[in-house]
């Protein structure tokens, strides 16, 4: 085989290998909720969100006169962790459903607020009336709305409203098909290159060129993002959301970098083998 067709096959193989890696990574990230669930503990998202909720209700006490402990006795760290996990799993199972908003279990919170209002009304001999019911419902709604926004550290609700989750739902099957097709094409092209006519380049030299190229394409951006701590520069106000965002981005970058290192190593070994080709 002449050199030009070999170069062309190596370039095509490069994109097949790259496609396999990128599609596999994308499919794993968008299809598997465990990536996000794992971040809850590794980034302490539950504790950060709970702190944010606690601080919020402490601030609200000055305007509502409802003590923060009425809320935080129910909204514990364990409760936050459980609802975060449920939210993630629910979202991943309903990506294409625009109306499938996750609703946490607020039964305990509603009872706590109702009990506080009832006790307070009794203490001042106030008979519950329409105004009382309206104020109670407003307090419960506002509390639930605030807690919802602090629980949703991955901003699934905003993404759902913007149609982003719907788009992700459509991409997932394409990523799955992409990784399978690219993988098969890669294997076929590697076999073509290896089983091709014996030549002065060595059997695996061109395969090595492709892997080396893929390795550098993945490694260089990964090294840049990690060396510059790129994602930490985003100033996100809420610490739990900041941790969720940087956690996902850093994990993804690390995976891309490690894939790049492995490919580059395979490539270098295969290329070097071409220098030691034995003559018949």
């Amino acid at each position: 085989m002449k050199i030009i067709p070999k170069i062309l096959i190596a370039v095509v193989l490069n994109f097949c290998i790259l496609g396999t890696i990128i599609c596999s990574l994308g499919y794993s990230l968008l299809h598997n909720p465990d990536n996000c669930v794992e971040l809850i503990s590794s980034q302490s998202l539950d504790e950060k969100a709970h702190k944010s909720i606690e601080d919020y209700f402490n601030e609200q006490y000055n305007t509502t006169a409802v003590p923060a402990k009425i809320y935080t006795d129910i909204i514990t760290v364990d409760w936050v962790r459980k609802e975060m996990e449920n939210n993630i799993k629910h979202t991943y199972s309903n990506l294409g459903n625009k109306d499938a908003e996750y609703k946490p279990d607020y039964t305990g919170l509603e009872e706590s607020i109702s009990a506080f209002f009832s006790d307070y009304a009794k203490s001042i001999n106030y008979n519950p009336d329409e105004a009382y019911e309206k104020k109670l419902n407003e307090t419960i709604e506002k509390a639930e709305s605030s807690i919802n926004s602090k629980l949703d550290v991955f901003k699934f609700e905003t993404m759902r409203k913007a149609g982003i989750l719907n788009k992700i739902d459509k991409i997932i099957p394409l990523l799955n098909a992409g990784r399978i097709i690219s993988g098969i094409a890669s294997v076929i092209l590697i076999i073509v290159l290896i089983l091709g006519k014996k030549n002065v380049w060595g059997r695996i030299y061109w395969t090595g060129c492709s892997f080396f190229s893929v390795g550098l394409i993945l490694m260089i951006p990964g090294i840049f993002l990690i060396a510059t701590d790129y994602f930490s520069a985003f100033t996100i106000k809420d610490s739990a959301i900041y941790s969720a965002f940087t956690g996902i981005m850093n994990n993804t970058t690390n995976t891309i970098l490690y894939s790049g290192i492995v490919c580059a190593a395979i490539g270098i070994i295969a290329i070097v083998s071409g220098f030691f080709k034995k003559k018949n």
């Binding site: 790259l18 993404m159 913007a162 380049w201 060129c209 080396f212 100033t235 290329i271 220098f275």
Partner: protein, 233 residues
């Protein structure tokens, strides 16, 4: 004779091998060449998806990302309530934002549009969302509210709107629903659709999509209000 013939063939093939064996430099340069070629193609193909990804990240995390001062003004993101359940009224007062402040969210279910709207138009603000011209009127006020955005990011699907489609503008002071009444196309030096009008309307526009460079043509929609809900505090 047979031996002579074999020797001759061996000598010829040795010569051929000697001519065709690539040098070490070539063996090292080729992988680098392949890398540069493939990297160039990857960069070219990644530009549009990268812009889209930035757009989606801006939309997903809007209201949470604080942006520092730039060119003497601050880009301020606000938490816009899109689930307001309190009392509303047909009439009320619009609240004037400052330049660079996010004062609304523009939403349309038909084209999965959900973008922040900033008061004022410049290069930096257009990177963060849609921008409303400060010479146009605020939502809910009489006159023409003019909002623009980049075609390759926030307004990429605006060409898919049809007459009758519904859009909603959630602002800091109210919720305003509009229906598309006209699809428009105009040259960038034609101010016909961006000047004040006697009737209350919402005009959305963007550049016409082109493969290379930007177009002089603008495309968009004119919408008329169907419902006004000013928040009562």
């Amino acid at each position: 004779m047979k031996e002579n013939k074999r020797d001759k063939t061996e000598n010829e093939s040795n010569e051929i091998i000697a001519v065709k064996t690539p040098s070490v430099i070539v063996k090292i340069a080729l992988p680098v060449f392949i890398f540069l070629l493939c990297a160039g193609i990857v960069i070219l193909c990644s530009m549009r998806p990268y812009e889209k990804l930035q757009t989606y990240l801006n939309i997903a995390f809007m209201g949470n990302v604080s942006v520092s001062d730039s060119d003497g003004f601050e880009i301020k993101q606000n938490e816009i309530d899109t689930n307001y359940t309190g009392k509303t009224s047909d009439t009320g007062e619009a609240v004037m934002p400052v330049f660079g402040e996010q004062y609304a969210i523009l939403s349309c279910d038909k084209i999965d549009l959900y973008v922040p709207v900033y008061w004022g138009t410049n290069t930096e603000l257009l990177e963060h969302g849609a921008c409303q011209s400060t010479s146009s009127s605020l939502a809910g006020a009489e006159n023409n509210s003019v909002i623009s955005a980049h075609v390759n990011t926030f307004f990429s699907d605006i060409k898919n709107l049809e007459v009758g489609d519904s859009l909603t503008l959630y602002t800091t002071y109210g919720k305003f629903t509009y229906a598309v009444s006209e699809l428009i196309e105009f040259e960038n030096n034609n101010k016909q659709y961006v000047i004040p009008t006697e009737d209350e309307r919402l005009t959305l526009y963007t550049c016409e999509m082109q493969v290379f460079g930007s177009s002089n043509k603008r495309v968009g929609v004119v919408c008329h209000p169907t419902e006004k809900q000013f928040y009562e505090n």
